[in-house]
């Protein structure tokens, strides 16, 4: 029986010719990731296990991105604990303030993950790297600790759902609109325990940033991983960047999929997920006459903090002003994205429009810092979760949207389609 892309990567790392859904395997890891919140817990477990060495100091990445630059004393202590660990074990990929970016924007950019990589990360959005043809999944801190010690993890081989993306998306329709549409269709547990594998002629219209955004939110449908086949767009992106040996795995013709969805990208419209679940997706047209006024717009995160995202926001904000009463916070995902956006003049556009530009951080996405909401406030955000209290007060609200929609909404002060602002 044929295998899916995900199954082939797992089989190769388990030293097996083939695997099938439901099989328990032990596989060798190419990368183990943690951040400033999950690493301290993993380090405690590592020490409880009386471990005295890591399996490979070049295959561990520790990224100080969630509560950094340190938001308070406790956050500072967590970074300090991780920094001491990185020093002690000479962890090569330790990224502190100055080098760090949001982990899932940073690792692809640094070439630490690529086609055929098997990666676990103590962060649920580790599934992002499937955009590059990797098998990558989120785990907890104990699995991270065990991975750092042994270089291995056990997996239950997932079954998969096939998504065939066809046609060309309209202007301002991005990866975010596509994945919100899909989660709206299948629900927050629609892909529970399974792989989401993406195919179709529509992939040619999706750049790496769109794909990273789509794979990033696979977890919001409960998936174990999301994955794209490697093509010329991937190869161009990893060229002179990926530090490993790229290995391309394609699904067999007779690979089994539990379900198949065909999504016509040309029919998609700007899409927003209403509180308090990412599955509450509506197109902006469906909002109708009721105005959804906003207090804050956040453009950034591991979902949408890459250069294409900032360019889309800048295209909307150019020559316009953020509406009175709206706080617009723009957060480039990495230092490189920051530099590139600065050189392209995007910061001039943002600042002249009345937005602020922050150093890379996960900050407001998880209600950490840099843009917390008060009781009753509403934000439109390019982040990935709109759970109760996610960005601050339990009685605040988060509406998930693309960078173009978030920027358009910042201009009008209510949730607005980029098409309306740009006069399409």
């Amino acid at each position: 029986m044929g295998m899916t892309m995900s199954q082939k990567i797992l089989a190769a790392h388990a030293g097996l010719d083939s695997v099938k859904a439901g099989q328990l395997i032990e596989a060798n890891l190419d990368m183990v990731l943690g951040n400033d919140i999950t690493s301290p817990v993993a380090i405690n477990v590592f020490n409880d296990g009386n471990a005295s060495s890591v399996f490979d100091n070049s295959k561990i990445a520790l990224v100080m991105d969630h509560f950094t630059p340190n938001k308070d004393i406790k956050a500072a202590e967590q970074c300090a604990q991780t920094r001491r660990f990185a020093d002690k074990y000479d962890i090569k990929n330790f990224f502190d303030v100055g080098q760090m970016g949001i982990e899932h924007a940073l690792l692809p950019e640094k070439g630490l993950v690529g086609p055929g990589t098997l990666c676990i990360g103590a962060d649920s959005h580790t599934c992002t790297y499937g955009a590059l043809g990797a098998f990558s999944t989120g785990v907890g801190s104990t699995d991270m600790a065990a991975g750092m010690i042994s270089g291995k993890a056990w997996f239950k081989v997932p079954s998969a759902i096939k998504f065939v993306l066809t046609g060309k998306p309209a202007p301002f329709i991005s990866g975010k609109d596509i994945i919100l549409h899909i989660i709206g269709k299948i629900g927050v547990d629609g892909a529970l325990y399974r792989s989401m594998e993406f195919f179709g002629d529509g992939l040619q219209y999706l750049n790496i940033d769109d794909r990273l955004c789509i794979a990033n939110m696979a977890i919001e449908a409960g998936a174990k991983n999301g994955i794209f086949p490697v093509d010329d767009i991937t190869r161009e992106y990893i060229k002179d960047r990926f530090k490993g040996e790229p290995k391309e795995y394609f699904a067999d013709d007779d690979a089994q999929y539990d379900e198949e969805y065909v999504i016509d990208l040309s029919s998609l419209r700007p899409t927003v997920a209403f509180p308090h679940l990412p599955e509450n997706a509506r197109t902006v047209d469906e909002i109708g006459e009721t105005e959804v006024k906003i207090d804050q717009a956040v453009i950034g995160s591991c979902t949408n903090g890459r250069i294409s995202d900032l360019r889309a926001a800048a295209e909307i904000l150019k020559g316009k002003k953020v509406a009175k009463g709206v706080r617009c916070i723009i957060i480039p995902g990495t230092q490189n994205v920051y530099l590139q956006a600065m050189h392209e003049g995007l910061f001039d556009i943002f600042i002249e429009a009345g937005a602020v530009v922050s150093t890379p951080t996960c900050g407001p996405c998880l209600g950490g810092h840099m843009g917390i909401l008060a009781k009753g406030e509403r934000a439109v955000a390019t982040t990935n979760r709109n759970f109760v209290g996610r960005m601050g007060h339990p009685e605040s609200e988060v509406y998930l949207a693309s960078p173009a929609t978030a920027a358009a909404s910042a201009v009008t002060g209510r949730i607005t389609s980029p098409w309306e602002v740009m006069g399409k």
């Binding site: 919140i37 477990v45 406790k74 967590q78 989120g138 104990t142 065990a146 529970l192 759970f387 109760v388």
Partner: protein, 163 residues
């Protein structure tokens, strides 16, 4: 292993952000995490939860973030077992890894009411609602999962050479 406790009941899609809000993730201290457990969903949880209590919930319990702080907070608050219709996959793995007993049983999760006294024998896959007398069958825990939970977590099981 047997668990007996009084039930605290929740609905579908209880996410890790309400189990332990991110604003408290600047610590990994178990007691401190427990003192904020369920805060954004149920402000009364911390004051009413008793040692040994059992949580029942609907679909997709523990969805969202991979924070291991979520099962840690539940366990440290005294909860002995979580019974749900289904669990999000990272939470499921994390709960076992830190030694929090959890079991999927849709019928039990649906029918057991808040405040009922429940006894669960997970080695044999039996959940009994002592209040109503009704019994439910589940898949028994595999041996390795039993060992992890008995030892208080994966790493402790490895240190104790039980795994």
């Amino acid at each position: 292993m047997k668990y007996t406790g009084s039930v605290i009941k929740y609905g579908d899609n209880v996410d890790t952000d309400v189990i332990i809000p991110a604003r408290y993730l600047n610590t990994s201290d178990h007691k401190e995490l427990a003192s904020h457990c369920m805060e954004d969903l149920d402000k009364t949880f911390v004051s009413r939860v008793k040692q040994g209590d059992i949580i029942t919930a609907g679909q997709n319990f523990g969805c969202g973030s991979s924070r291991e702080h979520a099962p840690i907070a539940i366990k440290a608050s005294g909860v002995s077992l979580v019974i749900a219709k289904s669990f999000a996959r990272i939470f499921y793995r994390n709960a076992i890894n830190i030694g929090l007993a959890i079991v999927e049983c849709p019928a039990a999760a649906e029918e057991i009411s808040e405040g009922d006294t429940v006894e669960a024998d997970l080695d044999n896959g039996i959940i009994r609602n002592i209040t109503t007398g009704k019994e439910y069958k589940t898949a028994p825990f595999p041996d390795f999962v039993q060992k992890i939970i008995e030892n208080g977590g994966l790493m402790q099981a490895i240190v104790n050479e039980a795994f």
